[in-house]
Amino acid sequence: MEKKSKKKAEVVLKKEISRRDFIKTTALGAAGLSLSSWAPVPFTYGAQPPIKVGMLNEYTVFATEYGYWLGKVGRAAIAKINAEGGIAGRKLELHEYDTKANPAWSASMCRKMILEDKVDLIMGSIHSGVHLACFPLIKQYKIPLFSGGSMTYEFTGKDSLSLHGGYYIRNHSHARSQAVAAWKFGFDNLGKKWTFLNADYAWGHSLAREFGSRVRAAGGKTQDIFAPPTTQDFIPFLQKVNPDTEVLFTAFLGSSGLGVLRQTVEVGLHKRLQRFTVICTTEGIGQEVVGKESIGAYYIEYHPRHLDQLPKELHPYEIAYRKAGGVDKDGKEVGNPKVTIAGSHMYSMWIYPYMIKLGIEQSGWKDSKKNMDLIKAICSLKLKAGPWCPVGDLVMREEDHQGFNDFYISRVEPDLKLKILEIIPKEKSMYEPETDLRKIV
């Protein structure tokens, strides 16, 4: 047996290669090589180190309806990137932690991710307090932080540099862009006399300030009422609403968001005023949970909950995105129709991995030494609607690292569906940047 194989090897070695054989073999090899570049590249694990992505979300304690979906969509996006060959041949490796909606805890998790897990970048969380607590760390260690859904506009405002050194990126809306986009719809269509009944913390105050200043500047009247963020009985607050109020703007999260809408109807206020709110109030909560009390309420959405309310041209991308996230056409979890999506927030986590991919490819980033180049590349992206950008065109602004996409005004119909009444193009949500982070070297 051994003799036989030795003989065969000698024959092969001694065989003369003709020119025809050479050309045939080379052509086949070249064709094979070029074809292989079209097919998904399986990872040769260990060949190149993975790109480590940290993910922080609210999985327990508070705002879990957001955390659940941001986490799910973030994981799906990373899995898709890896299935398509990773970024520059490198696999994305996920390191995931719960913020417990606790800034101090989140800061320690952020430190753990940076120092122990050695993550290259971090994404997630809708909690402004969590981001604020992480800022000193990302600034010190120069790690990019991609916001999951925090609404504090100041984070991309005039103090950006001192807050986070330019290492914070946000591809979604916030209190100011929401107000710039939607105040006029409310003012023109719902009424000139507004009462804000908002949660007594930064987000609620931000919305009252941003919308209120524009309403007053246009000659309208406003009244501010702030209630503790976890208020359950709203009657003491609803009875303070001015009798001549035409628009009641509310901003609460979770069960309080649910409570304020329902109790407005319980005391009969809905008969004499229009209710206007941001979708954050009922994200992750189905309208059937709010009940028929939500009929007639106006919402500002950042990405429609129902597939058929989206512009037709976005449908193919949206269907693929929903399939990857396990979401049906009505914004419910596939196989679990009691669970509603946080559709106006979770898209951020779908788009970030793709933005990171483009940023790395454009900047030639390999490690943290070129983090600022990576951030600059990401923040100059002008994304076109596509499988990775189902929300339509999304524009990042280099000056303040802020992203803009279209807004939607919807109303709850008798069948409890959020029907889109008006699409507000992203250009109408843009405001003058308050900082210029392009100067950072």
Binding site: P228, P236, P243, L258, V267, L269, V339, T340
Partner: protein
């Protein structure tokens, strides 16, 4: 202004009665077992969650109101026999233990029930006019049910053999043992009753608030304040303290920002503790 004041007073009394029912269970457990039950809010939440499942199945609020306290009472029985009994003489350990239990129940509900709030529809949708506003009849009904429960509890404690045993154990445990009262059984049933009361109030409150895994957090703090102000172990004191605190908050919110009105309630507690450390009606 008068109309606002009238609404604030009515709502303060209604909300106070609901809070009183929650605080009663907490106070019973403290009065007899000397256990500060940090898991009381979680049992209140568990009652609402169980009722939500029952109502989903049956479509009937009243069945949920009956079944949930029984289920949570049974869970209370397991907790008392499996956990509390082994540590009942160690107050610090019981606080830590029931705190851990609270976290465990919350996380378990989060896993099974999910993080999104759910709704229990009010069984009575009628609203009656009250000055410029309307007032939901459901709230009045909840207040009346709370009053009925409190009267029932009073009769149970004052007119039944078991109630007599409970009061005897509170007064002098050793003497009660010497007289042949089954003290361990009394302990067990008191914990079961306290847990069932928490669940009952959770179901009653659910049509006003929403059902979610953290719903017991806010309520627990207020229930503790009520128990402290009313006097630890004094059930009548809890009812009066609950109504007083709710009125201070509700009426105060008419004149000052609501956060300040909450500070008024806390200031009231501090003043009471300064002059009557045993609470308004404590001995």
């Amino acid at each position: 202004m008068i109309s606002n004041l009238a609404v604030a007073i009515l709502n303060g009394i209604v909300w106070g009665l609901i809070m009183a029912l929650i605080a009663l269970g907490l106070n019973m457990i403290f009065g007899l077992l000397h256990i500060i039950n940090m898991a009381h809010g979680a049992l209140y939440m568990l009652g609402a969650v169980v009722a939500w499942y029952v109502i989903e199945l049956t479509g009937n609020f009243w069945i949920g109101l009956m079944v949930a306290p029984l289920c949570v009472g049974f869970i209370g029985l397991i907790i008392e026999r499996g956990l509390i009994r082994t540590i009942e003489d160690k107050p610090i350990i019981t606080i830590i233990c029931t705190f851990g239990l609270m976290l465990a129940i919350q996380q378990l509900v989060l896993m099974i029930f999910g993080g999104s709030p759910r709704r229990i529809s009010p069984p009575v949708a009628y609203r009656f006019p009250l000055f410029e506003l309307q007032y939901p009849a459901m709230r009045i009904m909840i207040a009346l049910i709370s009053i009925a429960m409190m009267i029932g509890l009073w009769i149970f404690l004052r007119k039944t053999k078991y109630g007599l045993w409970m009061r005897a154990v509170v007064q002098d445990r050793e003497m009660a043992v010497a007289l042949g009262i089954p003290v361990t059984k009394v302990y067990m049933w008191t914990f079961v009753l306290g847990s069932a009361l928490a669940a009952f109030s959770g179901v009653l409150a659910a049509p006003i608030v929403s059902v979610e895994f953290m719903m017991g957090r806010e309520v627990l703090i207020m229930a503790f304040i009520i128990v402290i102000v009313g006097g630890m172990g004094n059930l009548e004191g809890s009812v009066i303290a609950a109504i007083m605190i709710s009125l201070i908050q509700g009426v105060g919110a008419l004149f000052v920002p609501p956060s300040i009105a909450t500070v008024f309630a806390l200031a009231f507690m501090i003043i009471v503790l300064l002059f009557r450390p045993q609470g308004l009606f404590g001995e």
